[in-house]
């Protein structure tokens, strides 16, 4: 059957396609601007105002200065440590907790799950948490950041939903075959829930990569700062002095500009590179979360 398309509908289609195009431009332009500025020459960039679609005088000085800077390098190291160790801790605890919450015939399940859920509604607040971490002697240690972020209750609920979707009969037959909880978890639940595990691993990973606040309150020594905190110093406190040593005043000013853009690219590229390949997992996470959210 051929459906006649009226002129209003054609109009709407054209408008819609164009509007989406505009939206994509608005979304992408800031990133393109930063990318182009990062390859620009500092002096020419300072003189330029307005739209930037191409580097103003090609220069890699921003990148060489940024990558040669010890703060960026140590920032990368701290972030990688927090990312790797933090994700291991996250996954171990989240899977253990979620498996517990997904079991049906456990006597203390209800009180323990209420004990956990209550923290989603009420918190002692920032200061008492800070004093607690300080009290157990984790100040100025990367472990403070890892411990505070060890479990996201929201992710644990997503994980539990993943376990819940595995047929109970598999669990029962494993019990009949004599398998204990640890064997069932390792041999049946984890392999079958791999898609959900991938989703929450990605969520935790991105959160660690982008986090800066806890690090800013628990870390004192600048050489332990993760990348985002170093970035905050450079972008928002305008502290590029360490990278512009041995330069004149106006030169410093100009180089500072390109360094800023270069560090944004350096810090964002890893995520933007993996994103297109993992998009479907991220999107899936929203769906699983929505079932319970």
């Amino acid at each position: 059957m051929k459906i006649k398309v009226s002129w209003q509908q054609r109009c709407f289609d054209v408008f819609n396609v164009l509007f989406m195009l505009l939206l994509m431009v608005i979304t992408l332009y800031p990133m393109i601007h930063v990318l182009m500025a990062s390859f620009s020459d500092g002096e020419e960039l300072l003189a330029h105002t307005g739209v930037l679609l191409w580097p103003k005088g090609f220069s890699l000085e921003g990148y060489t200065r940024a990558l040669g800077n010890s703060a960026i390098v140590s920032g990368y190291k701290s972030t990688l440590f927090i990312l790797v160790v933090g994700c291991l801790v996250n996954m171990a605890l989240t899977i253990a907790g979620a498996y517990f919450l997904s079991r049906k015939d456990v006597m203390w399940k209800k009180p323990i799950s209420m004990f956990i859920m209550f923290t989603m509604f009420f918190s002692g607040g920032l200061i008492p948490q800070y004093l607690t971490i300080k009290g157990i002697g984790l100040m100025d240690s990367l472990w403070a950041v890892i411990v505070v972020g060890a479990i996201s209750t929201y992710n644990m609920i997503i994980m539990r939903t993943g376990f819940d979707s595995i047929p109970e009969s598999l669990h029962e037959s494993a019990v009949i075959d004599g398998a204990g909880h640890l064997t069932i978890l390792a041999r049946i639940m984890v392999p079958l829930a791999m898609p959900t595990i991938a989703v929450i691993l990605l969520y935790y990973g991105v959160a660690h990569w982008n986090a800066w606040f806890n690090a800013s309150i628990y870390l004192r020594s600048p050489n332990k700062y993760p990348l985002q905190l170093v970035l905050r110093g450079i972008l928002l406190v305008n502290d590029t002095t360490a990278m512009t040593q041995g330069m004149g005043d106006s030169e410093t000013w100009a180089a500072g500009e390109t360094i800023k853009y270069a560090v944004i690219i350096i810090a964002t590229v890893p995520i933007l590179c993996i994103y297109p390949f993992l998009q479907k997992y991220f999107v899936k996470g929203v769906m699983i979360g929505a079932v319970k959210g």
Partner: protein, 319 residues
């Protein structure tokens, strides 16, 4: 088959035996499970429950030398001084203003985007639009705020665009009146695509026969949106809106403290950023905890209320 029956019988038996015996039986059967959950419980105690207990310093004149237990009680003094100060009205108004404007724009824009993406005829094009609009969600807050502070400088790109419409060249981040706009607009920029995912899923689940029926009745695309799409995703919208209203008092401090400065403080300072500043920058622990506790409490009431309403309206809730 027989095995499961035996287990069932064992369960019924256990239900009639004493509490202690049931505990022992449960522990024998599930000890590995309790062992697994033990570190999780330790985490919640250390990171969540000890601070909840520590929140009693809101009622004490805390001194670091004496610690939480030995500091002297001071009753509601911190609360009184907060409610009596100029900061109470200011941070509360700012919190509510930023939050409500965020809901107004940040909540509606993903719905509109989802409806528009759903109307695109080319599947490929709609995939491209989705991929690109989801992207900003993954950019870190520090980078977003860094870009904002750069683009909003007097010669920044956003300021330049604004001058085309007759505005003055100035650092827009230093104008108190623009703070809410900047905060909300950047939030929308970052979150509109990601927020649309859930509505797109709801739209994809609509029964195609509804569209056919609407077409038979002579509805054009515009009318189909109003008569089919929106009613079908309304439950999702209402649930999410109620839950969003529950968090109206919790404006995230992270973005605020990255973006505000002494000039915009009067319009930008929200309760959580005030807690951060008083507590961690000025080490006024007791007072800051009191303000935080007030905020936590109001939050809890709102979230519980939102959930109860949500449960009543369409049987969805957080618990």
């Amino acid at each position: 088959m027989r095995n499961t029956t035996t287990i069932r019988q064992a369960d019924t038996l256990s239900a009639s035996s004493s509490f202690g015996a049931r505990c022992a039986r449960d522990f024998r059967k599930n000890y590995a499970l309790y062992l697994l959950v033990l570190p999780v419980i330790v985490f919640y105690i250390v990171v969540h429950y000890v601070p909840m207990y520590g929140a009693i310093i809101a009622f004490k004149s805390y001194s670091p030398g004496k610690g939480i237990l030995k500091s002297a009680w001071c009753g509601l003094e911190h609360f009184k001084s907060f409610f009596g100060s100029v900061y109470f009205g200011r941070t509360l108004t700012n919190t509510l203003r930023i939050s409500l404007v965020s809901i107004l724009f940040g909540f509606t824009s993903p719905i509109i985007l989802a409806l528009l993406i759903n109307e695109l005829r080319s599947k490929l094009y709609s995939r491209v639009v989705q991929t690109i609009t989801y992207l900003p969600h993954f950019i870190s807050l520090v980078v977003i705020c860094g870009m904002l502070s750069d683009f909003l400088e007097p010669d920044g790109i956003i300021t330049t665009v604004c001058t085309w419409f007759g505005m003055d060249r100035q650092n827009l981040l230093r104008v108190p009146g623009y703070f809410t706009t900047i905060y909300v607009a950047s939030d929308v920029w970052q979150g509109v695509g990601w927020g649309s995912i859930i509505y797109l899923a709801a739209l994809a689940g609509i029964d195609p026969t509804l569209y056919e029926a609407a077409r038979m009745d002579g509805a054009n695309r515009w009318k189909q949106i109003w008569a089919v799409d929106i009613p079908c995703i309304l439950p999702t919208i209402i649930t999410l809106l109620i839950l969003r209203m529950g968090s109206v008092m919790s404006v995230g401090y992270e973005k605020i403290i990255l973006l505000y400065n002494s000039l915009t403080m009067e319009k930008a300072d929200v309760i959580s950023s005030f807690v951060y500043r008083k507590g961690l920058l000025e080490s006024n622990y007791g007072y800051s905890t009191a303000v935080g506790l007030f905020n936590s409490f109001v939050n809890m009431v709102l979230v519980v209320a939102a959930n109860t309403i949500s449960k009543k309206t369409n049987e969805t809730s957080l618990w």
